[in-house]
């Protein structure tokens, strides 16, 4: 029974790690929301997305969560007319990253909620273990 609780805690920790990576990628997107190309007419920063996968741990027989890939968002870049910009093409347009701060905000909320849920699992498992040990003591 206690090994199950321990496994629950380990799994929750892996979920927290995955959400941490997701948070890092969101932060990259937010930080580079205005990063344009370095040469005229080039592509700017492309929004990154995180995908998760579950990996079967053969030793402990549980499904663990891992980061699968960090892939680029293939949607269109934002266009802006700014002929004075160094990255502007011959028509005076610059490409801005396809990062939407509202979408990133929603992603961030989701990551936060998931992290908190996993934290709750760790907290509850720990309480269960401690209560069991207390019973042994009294």
């Amino acid at each position: 029974m206690t090994t199950d609780i321990k496994q629950a805690m380990d799994l929750a920790a892996m979920g927290m790690r995955a959400q941490g990576t997701r948070m890092r990628v969101i932060s990259e997107n937010m930080a580079n929301a205005e990063t344009t190309a370095r040469e005229a007419g080039g592509d700017p920063y492309r929004r990154q997305m995180v995908t998760f996968k579950n990996v079967m741990n053969r030793r402990t027989d549980v499904n663990e969560v891992k980061i699968d890939k960090i892939i680029g968002d293939q949607s269109d870049f934002r266009m802006k007319h700014d002929p004075s910009h160094p990255a502007a093409d011959k028509d005076g347009f610059i490409k801005l990253p396809n990062v939407n701060s509202l979408v990133e905000m929603m992603d961030m909320r989701e990551a936060q909620r998931s992290y908190e849920a996993n934290l709750g699992i760790i907290d509850m498992s720990r309480t269960m273990l401690m209560r069991t040990i207390d019973l042994l003591r009294s």
Binding site: K6, A13, R126, L129, M130, D134, L136, R137
Partner: protein, 99 residues
């Protein structure tokens, strides 16, 4: 007379059994060995948690790893402590028994 002899024989048999049993070494690990082993385990997890905390202070370890290590050390130590408390309690109970 026969009954008395039988009773004496039974007592002697019982006495023999008791002395034989106390002389015989138990094959499996004794309770002391078990306790020693689990204490070693607890100390090992404590060391691990300390190492993790030190690494985290230096910025080399993940906070989640520290949490895991510390929680494991805490539960292991608490388990061993409560078992030890129970053992000492039973020992005292036996020592208090009037003979």
């Amino acid at each position: 007379m026969v009954e008395v002899n039988g009773a004496v024989g039974a007592y002697q048999n019982a006495l023999k059994q008791v002395t034989e049993n106390s002389d015989k070494k138990s094959d499996g690990a004794s309770f002391g060995d078990m306790l020693k082993e689990s204490l070693g385990d607890a100390i090992e997890t404590q060391h691990k948690s300390e190492q993790m905390s030190a690494a985290a202070v230096q910025g080399k370890a993940d906070m989640i790893d520290v949490l895991q290590a510390v929680t494991e050390a805490e539960t292991t130590l608490n388990t061993v402590l409560s078992i030890r408390d129970r053992l000492v309690q039973s020992y005292q109970e036996i020592m208090r028994t009037p003979i």
